[in-house]
């Protein structure tokens, strides 16, 4: 329909409240954090413009680079794990063997749980006091190799990656499954008649046909991993010795515990830039003409 003079006011009234809230509470704060990243707070009440000084401080900070590296490791590992597991399970569910609905519903359960609760559950699984990990190690005869993973600087991040994968892999299963469901039936059918099956089928037909969805799942997951805060906060608080400090937690600690708001805003801007770069970069790398 076209907008006419008669109805323009109604339409503006329709757009106004939502866009106002959105601009004021989402877009404006983003802009604001760019501005604030150039200020320094001497006390909580007084701040002054310092240009790029905060950026220099951040880039010279050893802890920033540590949390940056942690974030990258976390991102690559969770994305790889979840995309691979999600793809396999999504495909197996797509085969619609007897009882596939049960599996599909089950795999999604952890995703709906509050991440705080998931963090605590895995805390206890790993803990020496009551956990499952220690008895499991005893059962497979590796008792002497057990140590609380969350207390070890080398294992803690891996332990959190596992918990995160358990928590959110269900989304990938659902997304892949829906992607496979929308592949054209006739193509798959004729490929089967031509004798394609199993791995060959997946490699030559399924992956190219569902490339769009694979691309999208990877991007969503990679950018999502960049925002991960809850599990780390609950499970380790960034420790031991900052070995699990991801960028959002680094931001949180510096802004709201050390009250270094300028520094925190620089991290905020960097998270934003990183999210954009990863989205656009991955899109470019994985660009491929659609088959149809």
């Amino acid at each position: 329909m076209n907008i006419t003079k008669k109805n323009i006011w109604v339409i503006l009234a329709f757009l106004f409240p939502g866009l106002l809230i959105y601009i004021y509470l989402v877009l404006y704060p983003i802009g604001q954090s760019v501005v604030l990243s150039t200020f320094k707070w001497d006390t909580l009440a007084s701040s002054r413009f310092v240009g790029l000084e905060n950026y220099v401080t951040v880039f010279e900070s050893r802890l920033f680079w540590k949390s940056f590296t942690n974030s990258l490791i976390f991102m690559v590992a969770t994305t790889a794990l979840q995309v691979i597991i999600g793809f396999i399970l999504g495909y197996l569910v797509y085969l619609q063997l007897k009882g596939y609905r049960f599996f599909k519903v089950m795999y999604f359960v952890p995703t709906v749980l509050p991440s705080v609760a998931v963090g605590f559950i895995w805390n206890y699984i790993y803990s020496p006091g009551m956990g499952l990990l220690k008895p499991f190690m005893v059962a497979i005869g590796q008792a002497e190799n057990y140590m609380p993973p969350l207390a070890s600087p080398t294992l803690a991040l891996i332990a959190i990656i596992i918990a995160q994968t358990w928590h959110s892999c269900g989304v990938q299963v659902i997304l892949f499954n829906s992607g496979f469901m929308s592949m054209p039936n006739e193509v798959i059918e004729s490929a089967t008649i031509d004798g394609a099956g199993g791995i060959k089928m997946i490699y030559h037909m399924v992956i190219p046909l569902s490339w769009d969805i694979i691309k999208m799942v990877i991007i969503l997951q990679a950018v999502g991993a960049l925002r991960s805060f809850d599990l780390v906060y609950v499970m380790t608080g960034g420790g031991p010795n900052h070995s699990t400090e991801l960028l959002p937690l680094h931001l949180f600690v510096n802004s709201f515990q050390n009250f270094n708001l300028g520094y925190g805003n620089v991290i905020a801007v960097l998270i934003f830039v990183l999210a954009m770069t990863i989205t656009l970069g991955l899109r470019k790398i994985m660009y491929k003409e659609s088959i149809y």
Partner: protein, 298 residues
């Protein structure tokens, strides 16, 4: 929740086309291996939850000696202690209030915008649409410090309404993304007829478009529930009075307080996850649909 369930059940069958893939599994061995793998993954998913459930009903002594099995004596008192000791009822009430208010804010603001963007042609339309959905790419962490300062300026810390408003605002982008594409698929003849009959925009919106978009609106509401119910960072920064805590922050406080009484901790976590599981049981189809719609433009 019940209402959501009813809506979802009705549309569940016709909305999920079930192509019958012509992929026959060749040998019996392969088929068995596939089932084994599927079952193994299901076990990994369920084991922590079953274990948590069992632990929540054990005695402390039973817990340390009997890791894998069900409780020898079922101690329901753990739940009573966790419930009274932790004020979980207060956190639940707060979370329900915040979630409910966020849904209202999201639906009331997003529905008219999506209607205009989906049904009208005008110059700035594309621009407004892209600005509106750009927020999907914005991590809330990037805005959290200015939001924290802004709420401070309003003198609105410890205000569940302010928290809901921020939640609502951050749901707008993805909800427009979903609802706009939903509304675009409603046949246009309907409103032409309505106009010939002399129907006003408001009437068209409330009595034709909104009822027809019911499924889409339910979807954005369901996704809002998941997001708001589980949110930690913002609520942690904006609320610090114990009687206003939402479930995630309340749970953290509870865990710190009960520290080493594992069985009661397990009971507390169980109480905290039961609402989510119930919600999943009732709204499973809608959650699934929403996840797909939020990720793929379709």
């Amino acid at each position: 929740m019940g209402i959501l369930n009813l809506l979802s059940k009705k549309s569940s069958k016709d909305n999920s086309p079930e192509p019958n893939p012509q992929l026959k599994i060749g040998s019996k061995v392969t088929l068995r291996l596939i089932y084994l793998f599927l079952a193994f993954c299901a076990l990994i998913v369920l084991l922590p939850l079953v274990w948590l459930f069992f632990s929540s009903l054990k005695t402390q002594a039973d817990l340390t000696t009997n890791t894998w099995g069900p409780p020898k004596i079922w101690v329901f008192a753990n739940y009573a202690k966790a419930w009274t000791g932790a004020k979980i009822n207060i956190y639940l009430t707060n979370s329900i209030f915040v979630t409910f208010l966020s849904i209202i804010i999201t639906v009331v603001t997003v529905t008219p915008i999506s209607f205009v963007l989906a049904r009208y042609k005008f110059k700035a339309k594309k621009f407004i649409y892209y600005i509106a959905i750009a927020g999907m790419m914005i991590p809330i962490h990037s805005a959290i410090i200015p939001i924290y300062m802004m709420v401070g300026k309003w003198d609105m810390y410890n205000n569940l309404g302010a928290l809901s408003l921020i939640y609502g605002a951050f749901r707008i982008s993805i909800s427009i993304f979903i609802l706009e594409s939903f509304m675009s698929s409603i046949p246009r003849e309907l409103e032409e007829c309505a106009f010939i009959d002399g129907c006003s925009i408001w009437k068209l919106f409330t009595s034709i478009i909104v009822p027809l978009s019911k499924d889409g609106i339910v979807t954005i509401a369901v996704l809002t529930v998941l997001a708001c119910w589980n949110e930690l960072l913002v609520s942690m920064l904006l609320l610090n009075r114990p009687e206003l805590k939402t479930l995630p922050i309340g749970l953290i406080g509870f865990i710190t307080e009960f520290n080493s009484e594992y069985t009661q901790l397990a009971a507390g976590i169980m109480i905290a996850i039961i609402p989510s599981i119930l919600f999943y049981i009732f709204a499973q189809e809608n959650i699934e649909k929403g996840m797909i719609a939020g990720a793929i433009k379709g």
